[in-house]
């Protein structure tokens, strides 16, 4: 039995190492400062990925700028201002769990139909970012909810007993106390947004030049990898380099998440 567990563990770690090793082996040669700062040439076979990095940052930026206020607002409303066991709260929770499990391609089709066509945003960074926002909202709402629930009820009662309004208690006590949960949610959402491909192909498009504005089409890193690997013969080397970059980014995000989680468990005492 022990042997079985160990071999399964080794298998999992082995697959990860193999994957990373393969990426590094093929990709590290291409990675250079020039690769990060120049535009792609010959449909990405040569040159760098500067415009793609900019587009990715803009898409993720739009996504977080929309999702964070909406997500935190919704979570606050659900936890602090609506009855805990009410039908409304239960329905919203159920829909969030369903939404969190919806495949990203479905979000892509929805984004294409709603943001690109109905709202007339076309293939644009804005449409892509908003579609991603819809996708990460459930994660963000759920983790903010968990963060707020973890705040002891004592704070709410003692704040109320001192004649503090719920809004004041929320800003000064509850949100700061829920911050670690919130941060983890944001990073999880960020990780999902950065790595997303399917939802973006239909919404932010393929164009690999530097975007002029948020209404311009822009190619995200993961779309770039997909395109180089599947549609462009001779694009493998740059696809590997881009994938390596993406993998590094994701590992950094995960490291921050586990660091935050560790810090949160370690320090119950916070000063503001």
């Amino acid at each position: 039995m022990t042997l079985l567990i160990w071999s399964v563990a080794c298998l999992v770690v082995g697959v990860l190492l193999w994957l990373l090793g393969d990426l590094i082996w093929h990709g590290i040669g291409q990675l250079s400062w020039a690769f990060l700062t120049t535009a792609p040439q010959k449909a990405g076979r040569a040159g760098g990925i500067a415009p793609i990095l900019v587009s990715t940052a803009l898409i993720v930026g739009v996504c977080l700028a929309t999702a964070i206020p909406l997500g935190v607002g919704t979570a606050v409303l659900l936890v602090e201002f609506s009855p805990q066991r009410g039908l409304f709260g239960r329905l919203v929770r159920l829909s969030l769990d369903v939404l969190a499990g919806v495949p990203s391609i479905v979000f892509g089709l929805f984004g294409n139909a709603f943001f690109s066509k109905t709202l007339g945003l076309g293939f644009s960074i804005l449409a892509g970012g908003l579609t991603l926002a819809c996708m990460v909202l459930p994660i963000l709402i759920r983790s903010t909810q968990e963060g707020l629930r973890a705040v002891p009820d004592d704070y709410r009662r003692s704040a109320a007993a001192l004649g503090l309004s719920r809004t004041a208690a929320l800003w000064v006590l509850l949100l700061p106390a829920a911050m670690p949960g919130l941060a983890v949610g944001i990073l999880l959402g960020l990780g999902r947004a950065i790595a997303e491909t399917a939802a973006l192909i239909f919404t932010s498009g393929y164009v690999d030049r530097m975007p002029d504005s948020l209404l311009d089409s822009g190619r995200a890193l993961s779309v770039h990898i997909f395109d180089l690997a599947m549609n462009i013969s001779g694009g493998e080397a740059n696809a590997y380099a881009s994938a390596l970059l993406l993998a590094i980014g994701l590992m950094v995000i995960n490291a921050i998440i586990s660091g935050l989680a560790h810090w949160f468990r370690g320090s119950r005492i916070q000063v503001i």
Partner: protein, 264 residues
């Protein structure tokens, strides 16, 4: 007994009266038809076995019970002849302060614990705030211990210090009434003696209502004592009177049984 400086402000002494106060949580009756008067400037102790509605009764007096879903209150509570439902709840809770069983400072600095509520209640001048903070900490005998570490987290204080900080935080808002829910039960004997001393020191300047499980404590500090008991599944007021009267010549057989330790 330690000497505490007198407060610079002279609080207004108020009376609280409940008339046929009944509280339900859904279908369950927490207590029913309680008519009780808290004398101005006196300490009233609320005693009785667990689950007889003492804490719930306390929570009605500052309308904190409204935070509990499906709690319904009937009857009347008068603060200085005014029905508390007619008073803005924020203003009411400023006039009726509360100290909880477990010390519950905010996860802020020692200074911010007092400053935040003061600012929220519209006191803007930093000088005035600093003055009130110092005065409040003096009141609870904590000033010397915290004056050099006001920026430290309040949660780094010991349990007894935390409870005194919470008391200072309540006093900073210049309440007329102070409700205390077993303020010593989570503390060590020395800290609880300090709190007890403080209560005696506050007598005459605030109207105090103290829930306690400790009969000896009620006897030591309270001017008036009220005994709650569970009758027909709900809390009820069995007997109320001056502490001497209640402990020496109890009128009710339950009171006699409880104070002699035969029941409860």
């Amino acid at each position: 007994m330690q000497q505490y400086p007198a407060s610079l402000t002279v609080p207004h002494l108020s009376t609280v009266q409940t008339q046929n106060l009944t509280l339900h949580y859904g279908n369950k009756t927490a207590f029913k038809e309680i008519t009780l008067t808290l004398e101005p400037g006196k300490i009233t102790a609320l005693i009785g076995p667990s689950g007889c509605g003492k804490t719930s009764f306390l929570n009605c007096l500052n309308r904190l019970v409204e935070l509990t879903p499906n709690a319904t209150v009937s009857g009347r509570i008068l603060l200085e002849d005014q029905d508390i439902r007619a008073i803005n709840v924020i203003k009411l809770r400023r006039r009726v302060g509360m100290l909880f069983q477990k010390p519950n400072p905010f996860p802020l600095s020692i200074q911010k614990n007092l400053e935040f509520p003061l600012r929220h209640h519209g006191i803007k001048s930093q000088d005035r705030i600093n003055h009130i903070i110092e005065d409040s900490f003096q009141q609870v005998g904590l000033w010397e211990e915290v004056k050099d570490r006001l920026k430290m987290p309040a949660l780094s204080l010991s349990g007894g210090q935390q409870q005194r900080l919470c008391l200072a935080r309540a006093l900073a808002l210049e309440p007329e009434i102070l409700l205390m829910d077993e303020p010593c039960s989570a503390l060590d004997p020395i800290s609880s003696e300090i709190i007890e001393d403080l209560l005696l020191h506050l007598r005459g300047r605030y109207t105090l209502l103290v829930v306690t499980h400790n009969l000896a404590q009620a006897k030591r500090i309270a001017d008036h004592t009220a005994l709650f008991w569970v009758q027909e599944g709900a809390g009820a007021l069995v007997e109320a009177g001056t502490t001497t009267q209640l402990f020496e010549t109890p009128q009710h057989s339950l009171t006699r049984a409880y104070i002699t330790g035969r029941k409860g």
